[in-house]
């Protein structure tokens, strides 16, 4: 049984080799950072300045431009973490394990941002910082899942074993993802229903939607950047005795950069 044709398989194999990944990610990072900063500038300018105030919420709704993309990313990164974790479990690919654990801290940050900005939005609009409704509670559980993954990984010294344990925890937590997404439809919640991902058409005016989508794409780039930075550190720590790391360290240009 063969899923993947040979040339692609060979390409992936080469990509997954640690020295190659380290070198390539180093070359890609400046470009990714550049694109991220441009998207971020456009998104912020559109969201904070160009977009008109909301008819009900005035200017307070502008928190949407970081709250909603962060919340999307918190779910997206969890799915990436679970899939790469599963790939690590099944195929024992070292790089997949590293991507999985490097995603965890970025995902935890986005979950934290979604919760805090939601709270800062809820206080003036709903009249409360926090309620225990299904949406908010399930998002808080997501934060604990991320923190559990990070804590478990740090608690186990052998990083290959740690990756396996973490992948299983991440896969168990996957059931929370549809719960978060559908919580506002399945149960009565204080949190309102989905705006952009509605089946018919988004119920947000186009002048407000474009900056939101720009910010969402910018955050996707940010995730790749932050994940790669974390992965490069993780890779060096794990491979500190490998020949390629010794060679890298001995080059004076690298010890400073």
């Amino acid at each position: 049984m063969k899923f993947i044709p040979d040339p692609i398989g060979r390409f992936c194999h080469r990509m997954a080799s640690p020295p190659h990944f380290y070198a390539l990610s180093g070359k890609l990072l400046p470009w990714l950072t550049g694109i991220f900063l441009i998207l971020l500038a456009c998104g912020l300018y559109g969201g904070l300045y160009l977009a008109p105030p909301d008819y009900q919420q005035g200017d307070s709704y502008r928190i949407i431009y970081i709250h909603v993309p962060s919340a999307w990313m918190s779910l997206f990164i969890y799915i990436v973490m679970a899939i790469t974790g599963a790939i690590g479990l099944i195929w024992r690919i070292k790089l997949a394990e590293i991507v999985a654990i490097s995603s965890a801290s970025v995902g935890a940050s986005f979950t934290f941002i979604a919760l805090v900005t939601g709270s800062l939005w809820g206080k003036p609009m709903w009249g409360t910082w926090w309620v225990w409704d299904a949406r908010l509670t399930s998002e808080l559980i997501l934060l604990f899942l991320y923190l559990g993954v990070i804590g478990l990984y740090n608690a186990i010294d052998d990083k290959r074993t740690a990756s396996k344990a973490v992948a299983i925890l991440a896969l168990v937590g996957v059931v929370n993802i549809p719960i978060i997404h559908y919580s506002v439809e399945w149960w009565n919640t204080l949190h309102q229903g989905p705006t952009v991902t509605k089946m018919d058409k988004p119920s947000i005016h186009v002048s407000m939607l474009i900056p939101l989508l720009l910010m969402a794409i910018a955050f996707k780039f940010y995730y790749v950047i932050a994940m790669l930075q974390r992965a490069r550190l993780e890779l060096l720590q794990r491979e500190r005795t490998a020949a390629w790391v010794k060679k890298l360290v001995s080059e004076p240009s690298n010890s400073s950069s």
Binding site: P124, M125, W126, G127, L171, I179, S203, I204
Partner: protein
């Protein structure tokens, strides 16, 4: 795929399916507890708790907001478009509180069947638009 890898894959799929089913049943059995608020119809049917705090959600009926007395007390009717319940509240209302807006109130029913709220939260809808667009939408509705 090598048999050992396929075995691991099947194991993972079974694990997720198993946990998913378990959580699904758990959520189903706790369904009522996961509801953040009762509707006004629930109150009318007597489904809402008596002599205990609970949350009541609904839309503020247009033209029913009144201030008896000169204090901070507000009285208004809530509806879920089938049954109405009168709510009394003393205190500061959230910025989004207005007629035709969804709210969630925490409090209990008194002997008159009036819901005395200790806390009122606004529930905003998922629509975002500039004020001018809202105004023109209203105009369109009138013209139809």
């Amino acid at each position: 795929m090598k048999p050992i890898r396929r075995q691991r894959l099947i194991l993972i799929i079974l694990m997720i399916a198993g946990i998913g089913t378990a959580v699904g049943f758990a959520l189903k059995s706790f369904n009522d507890n996961l509801m953040y608020f009762f509707s006004t119809t629930d109150v009318d049917n007597g489904k809402a708790p008596k002599d205990a705090l609970f949350r009541l959600g609904g839309m503020v009926v247009k033209g029913t907001v009144e201030r008896p007395g000169d204090g901070l007390t507000v009285r208004f009717k809530l509806t879920d478009f089938s049954k109405e319940v009168t709510v009394e509240y003393t205190g500061i209302l959230p910025d989004l509180f207005r007629e035709g807006q969804g709210i969630v109130a925490n409090g209990k029913l008194d002997a008159r069947g009036v819901f005395v709220a200790e806390e009122v939260l606004a529930k905003h809808d998922e629509n975002y638009m500039p004020p001018e667009v809202k105004a023109s939408l209203k105009q369109e509705l009138k013209n139809q």
